[in-house]
């Protein structure tokens, strides 16, 4: 068969069902072969390669399986760069396949030649340039294995046009052996016993769960552990939805715009069990004043994360699921009621000073939080929320009451505006039976707005809520608080979003009165195809609480 056919056969061997892509010169042999694979591989034609990358991420985030993006050489490949970086920072398994100029033309500045291996080396877990068709099967097997094992991440396979056209014998390897790559799956029992001892002696233990828990499918194990040992839990942004929000031990979200109690009390805890999280600067604030009273236990699959930002006392290297199963055996129930009730007083204060006024529907103006709160209520917390970046993202994280895991998809590490719409397309392809809702600002919606065309073409019932404050809201908030209200290039003269959507053949509606919100949301949720709801919200709403840059977690501001 040809190299191009070998590419598609490799995808089938990896049980790939859907590809997000965009054709072009150097990938044409693969697209030609794809013509005969239409019934086996579903190809979604995006309108920009960046969107293919984010869609692959959205697919991977809800299914746990690698998402696949396909693009041509040169600009097609470089357009993937933002999505690849996004996947790198958020540990998302995606496999990007790019066409490349013919092997004989490599390095000659040929038409649409870009050194995409050079460009993506710092932003991929692994990448490889195929110049001979005979390499295809082995390289694909490696790529898929690397992307989804250990700490997942993006891989890129660059294939020259000549390799796509060459004949080869296709033999897909059953096992992949890599001399230097052995993701750890078991944890050291001696360390686990020591950790259990520390946990059992703790007076004020606190478990911080991150994305790693969701990746390892260890949500139940976290729940069992904290229930057995009676320990409060808080989630990082990507840990959200992994622990039921209504649970008595759930204390909220960590981080810059997280909940008041879990942030402040991080500095009171005497033992911190950090699971599948990496002490990101948005979580720790000033590291020199972070959790100084705590003995820190860190469970992670990536050894490079230990002691990177925060010194830890005991590190457990390995899969979170197995480590937690082991740990649970050795911990015992302790009465931490006094410690647990300390969270309550902070929760009350946050409710009184921030939440209550934010979520209450007022007569005249809508707040972002009131929209998300009503949406949460109407969907019973069961939807997949795909948030963009900025205020919309933080409000969605704070006010949506998640009941199911893998339900909050957002660009956390890289903070990529324009992520939400394409990522939601991928998420919807991954979980077609779940309600997938985009929450996006008026700024972010205009980055990758072209994907409305993809939604319309594929009739993908993704629902979009634009929280429109006619500002780049988060930057404006910072300018108000830290730059003396010098609003520098943050006010937007927006298009008529409803007209734009309709121009793309996507139904849309605009709401600016609180009284009309419920009915508009009902219509949005009931729509059979894609639908957009633009909600005009208060212009100068701010997200609180807030931990200013350089502040300590205990210095969270409520106003």
């Amino acid at each position: 068969m040809t190299g191009a056919q070998a590419v598609l056969e490799s995808l089938l061997k990896e049980h790939v069902k859907v590809i997000f892509g965009y054709p072009g010169g150097a990938i044409m042999p693969v697209y030609d072969a794809l013509y005969d694979y239409k019934d086996k591989l579903n190809h979604i034609l995006v309108r920009h390669e960046q969107a293919a990358g984010h869609a692959a991420e959205g697919y991977a985030r809800v299914t746990g399986k690698p998402g696949v993006a396909l693009a041509t050489s040169g600009p097609g490949a470089t357009n993937l760069v933002t999505a690849i970086t996004d996947a790198m920072l958020d540990s998302v398994p995606i496999v990007c396949i790019t066409g490349q100029v013919a092997t004989s033309l490599l390095g000659t500045d040929a038409f649409q030649e870009a050194d995409i291996i050079g460009v993506t080396t710092p932003i991929t877990k692994w990448n490889y340039q195929i110049t001979k068709a005979s390499e295809i099967a082995e390289v694909f097997a490696k790529a898929f294995y690397i992307s989804q094992t250990g700490r997942p991440g993006p891989v890129l396979i660059d294939i020259t046009k000549s390799a796509q056209m060459e004949q080869c014998i296709f033999k897909y390897p059953k096992n992949v052996r890599l001399q230097g790559y052995h993701p750890k799956t078991v944890s050291d029992l001696a360390v686990i016993k020591k950790v259990a001892e520390i946990v059992n002696q703790a007076k004020k233990p606190f478990l911080l769960m991150g994305h790693g828990v969701l990746i390892a499918n260890a949500e139940e194990e976290v729940k069992k552990l904290v229930e057995k040992a009676n320990i409060p839990v808080a989630c990082t942004l990507h840990g959200l939805s992994g622990f039921p929000t209504g649970h008595r031990l759930y204390k909220g979200m960590l981080g810059m715009h997280g909940n008041y109690g879990p942030n402040v009390l991080t500095n009171s805890a005497d033992v911190i069990i950090a699971v599948g999280m990496r002490f990101d600067d948005r979580v720790t604030g000033d590291v020199s004043r972070y959790a100084k009273n705590a003995r820190i236990i860190h469970i992670d699959i990536d050894p490079a994360e230990f002691n990177k930002n925060i010194p830890v006392e005991v590190a457990i290297l390995g899969d979170a699921k197995k480590a937690l199963q082991e740990l649970e055996k050795y911990v015992s129930y302790k009465n931490h009621e006094e410690w647990l009730t300390r969270f309550d007083s902070y929760k009350e204060e946050e409710y009184k000073q921030v939440i209550e006024k934010e979520i209450t529907l007022k007569a005249e103006k809508l707040t972002m939080a009131s929209v998300v709160n009503l949406l949460s209520e109407m969907t019973k917390g069961e939807a997949v929320i795909v948030a963009d970046v900025g205020q919309n993202q933080m409000i969605a994280a704070r006010y949506y009451k998640f009941q199911q895991s893998n339900s909050y998809i957002t660009s956390g590490g890289l903070g990529t505006m324009g992520f939400a719409l394409p990522a939601a397309m991928g998420a919807k392809m991954g979980v077609p039976n779940r309600q997938v809702i985009v929450i996006v600002g008026d700024g972010g919606f205009q980055m990758n707005i072209q994907e409305l065309a993809t939604l319309a073409q594929e009739k993908l019932p993704v629902k979009v809520i634009i929280l429109n404050n006619n500002f780049l809201g988060m930057v404006r908030q910072w300018q108000e608080l830290f730059f003396a209200k010098r609003y520098s290039f943050v006010d937007l003269k927006n298009p008529n979003f409803v007209d734009v959507c309709k121009g793309f053949f996507v139904d849309a509606e605009k709401v600016d009165k609180p009284a009309a919100l419920r009915e508009a949301l009902e219509k949005l949720l009931a729509a059979e195809g894609p639908r957009v709801l633009e909600v005009v919200v208060e212009k100068e709403e701010k997200v609180f609480p807030m931990m200013p840059t350089g502040a300590s977690v205990s210095e969270m501001r409520l106003v």
Partner: protein, 96 residues
């Protein structure tokens, strides 16, 4: 306190590994003082020796990130001895 460290990286002999290693030093703005990369044909491995002047903490973190590179089999660092530096200087004089 900064000292001269010798980082020894054992890796599969594949193109691009040195690129990834150098990039990790670059991201942390660590200047490479000296570098030798030699193939070991029997084991099909390549041994990269890198001298840097840095703090223990920065070197440790960098080494752990290098160890993450898929092709890297092992990465370690130690404070360079006078002997190490002499050997390196001598190797640098070799002309092929």
């Amino acid at each position: 306190m900064k000292k001269i460290y010798l980082c020894t990286i054992l890796s599969e002999d594949k193109p691009g590994v040195l690129y990834r290693v150098a990039d990790i030093f670059l991201r942390r703005k660590i200047n490479i003082e000296g570098i030798i990369s030699v193939k070991n044909k029997e084991e099909k491995l390549s041994k990269i020796s890198i001298f840097v002047e840095e703090t223990q903490e920065a070197v440790d973190k960098t080494i752990r990130q290098i160890d993450r590179i898929i092709e890297v089999v092992n990465a370690v660092a130690k404070v360079a001895s006078i002997e190490d530096i002499k050997k390196f200087m001598k190797a640098g004089e070799i002309t092929i």
